[in-house]
């Protein structure tokens, strides 16, 4: 009898171990075996036009097995963990392995080597214990309020918990069993005017939902919606712009993603941090050590930072990607680190990062602006030119004009075309930091590459000069 965690939501470690033991008893003695037993629970509420559209209390258990015999592989998967199903999956995997041609070279170490999930510190009891009924109550409050205000709201509130037990017996006689669990929570609220003349959005994500309040998120969305009503047309052009953290994160993530030493130093000249080929040294030189952005900016990834850090793997250390505007460390692969630097301490940069903030409030930023804009969100960002990280996209859910230190009116959305290298060199003021909403926040059963799906970002509000808006768009 499998023992589930309370409410049959996720498998406990001992339960998963029992399933594993049973599965191993069905495996033949020849070849390799890899088993992943994962379980997932997700409680979510989705609503639109002030009415709930989905209430989810999902739970899922997955049993995956891969058998290797000779150089061929056979896989099987089931979402039942009774004896018959497990035995059947083991037999199917073995049968596939035996029947397939020998054309899968046995030359890859299994991805178990990259497993850095163990010891993860992204588990929160508060998140796990928040039930669907509580989410439903929050949704009820939000929708009632929007009905009262004659507005239309839509959004999602959800929290999940996942566990995984990974067993691997490889070709070299090593048996490893790893166990891990994570929680996640997210909330996204969009409030619009029924006639389509105004829209406001707010969102939050964290593994620990105690760090934010659904009501405050909703209030922010309401406020932004009301403030954005009846937008007026404004000529596109370069404006001093206050970028809210969500907008800053959109731009900064493209910059952080480019901070990889390996492509430019291997000679990829189209890389944004490629600098020059030094014929004397016969080396491609990257922009490491070069000032890339404003000297007030520090961008780093600290695994011990609960808001961005997600693991305690010994390979991962704090990586200072940008220090005082200077590109100080980029992602470096292990072979590149060993061969080129003769060092064994590579910078493994994740997509989670924090940018140090300043001490200027948004109000102060507005007060000090003679004429400018406030952008809540930069949406649909996509690259136009890789070498300069030139991006384009549209503004969404809030764009306001500032005149003589006061927010005067709401503006119709713009298409923007800009490079973070330009934007972050034109910073006037830096505000307080905030964790931002992560649209790709992890959902579903755990995978080995779990951490690649995390993008925990903490960034400040920024006021920048000459942000380029190229054209006006009609959508609100």
């Amino acid at each position: 009898m499998i023992e589930w965690d309370n409410d049959n939501r996720i498998l406990s470690e001992s339960s998963a171990q029992k399933v594993l033991d049973e599965a191993l008893s069905y495996a033949g003695k020849r070849g390799t075996v890899k088993i992943v037993i994962s379980s997932w629970w997700g409680g979510g509420q989705r609503w639109a036009r002030n009415a709930p559209t989905m209430t989810a209390d999902q739970r899922e258990v997955t049993f995956k097995v891969e058998r290797g015999i000779g150089s061929s592989r056979g896989q099987a998967e089931t979402n039942q963990i009774d004896s018959v199903s497990i035995k059947g999956a083991m037999e199917v995997a073995e049968r596939y392995a035996l029947s397939r041609s020998e054309n899968n070279p046995l030359d890859k170490e299994t991805d178990i080597a990259h497993w850095d999930f163990e010891g993860s510190n992204v588990w929160s009891d508060v998140t796990y214990n928040r039930l669907v009924t509580e989410n439903a109550k929050s949704v009820n409050d939000i929708t009632h309020k929007s009905i009262e205000d004659n507005l239309v709201s839509a959004g999602y509130i959800g929290n999940t918990a996942s566990t995984a037990l990974v067993y691997n017996c490889d070709d070299w006689g090593r048996n490893t069993t790893k166990w891990g669990r994570v929680t996640s929570g997210s909330c996204s609220v969009t409030v619009r005017h029924p006639k389509g003349v105004g829209s406001g959005w707010a969102g939050q994500s964290s593994y620990d939902i105690a760090r934010w309040d659904v009501e405050k998120v909703a209030d922010l969305a309401y406020e932004k919606c009301k403030l954005s009503l009846n937008p007026v047309r404004l000529e596109p052009g370069r404006y001093t712009t206050i970028l809210e953290p969500q907008a800053v994160a959109t731009l900064m993530s493209f910059l952080v993603g480019a901070l990889n030493r390996v492509p430019p130093e291997s000679g990829r000249a189209s890389n944004p941090i490629y600098q020059i080929f030094d014929s004397g040294l016969r080396r491609h030189i990257s922009k490491i050590g070069v000032k890339l952005v404003d000297s007030r900016l520090n961008v780093y990834h600290d695994p011990q930072d609960p808001l961005v850090g997600t693991h305690r793997s010994s390979l991962i250390r704090k990586v200072n990607m940008i220090t005082q505007g200077i590109f100080t460390e980029g992602y470096n692969s292990i072979p590149h680190e060993i061969n080129e630097l003769n060092s064994n301490n590579p910078a493994i940069v994740r997509r989670s990062y924090r940018v140090d903030g300043g001490e200027t409030s948004v109000d102060e930023m507005i007060k000090s602006t003679r004429r400018g804009l406030i952008v809540a969100k930069l949406d649909q960002a996509m690259p136009v030119d890789d070498a300069s990280i030139l991006l384009t996209g549209v503004t969404r859910d809030g764009l306001w004009l500032i005149e003589n230190g006061t927010v005067t009116k709401s503006i119709r959305n713009f298409r923007w075309i800009e490079s973070p290298l330009f934007v972050f060199n034109n910073i006037e003021q830096i505000g307080f930091t905030e964790p931002v909403f992560n649209q790709t926040w992890f959902r579903g059963p755990l995978t080995i590459n779990f951490h690649d799906s995390l993008k925990n970002v903490v960034v400040p509000t920024m006021k920048v000069r000459d942000f380029q808006f190229s054209s006006m768009i009609d959508a609100i």
Partner: protein, 485 residues
Amino acid sequence: MKIITFCFLIFLSCALSSVCEGQTKFQAPDTIPNYASYKYVNECLVAVRRLYSQADLKDSIWKDTASPENRLDQRPISPEAIKHGRTCLQSLNLDTVRAAKRELEILGLILLLVDRDEDFLKLSKRMLDLAANEREWSDIYNTTSQLLSSARPTRLTGLKQWMEVSRLNEPAASIQARRLGMKVQIGLAALDLGEIETAKQMVGDIFKEIQGNVVDLKSSENRYYLNEGYALAYEVMFDEGMDSLKVSTEAYKQYLRNLWDRFSDAPFEETQEVTGLISPVLVGKYWYKNDWPVDSNGQIQPGSVVTKSNPEVRPVPGKINVLVFLGGGCHPYGQGLPTQYARYSSSASCWRISAIVKRLKKEFPNLQVTVLTKTFGTFGGGKPVDPEEEAVLLSNYILGFFSMPAVQAISETEFFRLPGLDRRRVDLDVQYEEDFQNIRTSTGIILIDEKGKIFHSFIHNSLKSREELMIRKKLSAVFSRLAQN
């Protein structure tokens, strides 16, 4: 009674089963392969490959830090795998074998290692046939570039194409630029095919065109083909040159000069020919040697007992010497072992060179072989090592694993780091690279006579069977001269 019987059965099954001996259930069951249980050749090959992987991963040199990818790229084949490879080979018909390409590559490497060259060539031909039958034209190139000389298949294809073109008998004016190159290529491909008469005919045609001023030698393209044509003529007329080498290295150099003069009005010195130059005395910081043992019949036998030695005077005066440059590294797949740069190159591999050197040593026991390598701060993608430690690893790899019958001089590479945060390592040329700056010192072989004069430096990017044949002939000529004196 039933319970007692049941317990007895349990006990019996445990006594007979390895699971009950403390072994984990899935503990690499194929580490002790029972070949009797393998039904098919493919399985046998796969088992060899598994051993190959396993042997490498158990190597503690790079286990803790190297990335799996890197580690797997640079593994040596273990003696155990070689042994089982031999078992495989006994039941294998190389003319008809059919297996995954990568398995066949491993098999080819094993064949090279156990000095079964004929079988190696046979297998290479089979791989070509397989690729051609399946119309995997990219595989033709990739496979054979790893196992056979890199240019051979393209030349074979080129020969057919160019022969067709030549039959078209285009007007000379329109194809003049291509004409010389075409003939050179046909000649070289004919050499590959063993069609010496065709090659000689092409050389004769080239001579005629040059002497009849048909070819415009001001064209850079034609000048390039001119050098190629010279290399072709050198090979085709090689036997004539050997007569001069039997006299002296100087006479051989004069022969080369005469040959060049037939080709070009440009001075012979432009060829940067190193034949006849005195070899500098070799310098190395760490010295190791591997002396092949002598059996009861007085014959040396391949083996590997690597010992650290004192600096020696190399090349040995009064002896015929071979210098083997492996500073560029080498790789089981033909790409380059312990260096970061060699990984991206496709220079001749240690496999091929070691096989050639071992054959030469067997044929000419008095040959003095010196291998020149240098340090890189890391070995095989493993954790950073200091030069002394790296020297041990290098000597174990070159002299031990490959059983090279040689003295190995290892130079400690001086380097600096790029300033600032870059910190990348930039190596300076070591002494032997400066001494032999007219010679490509990444990978290759040069021969030095008893007076210390160079009489052969490699002419191909990778050592091909043709070049080995030339080396053998040259050594025969020089040794016969020594015997007469």
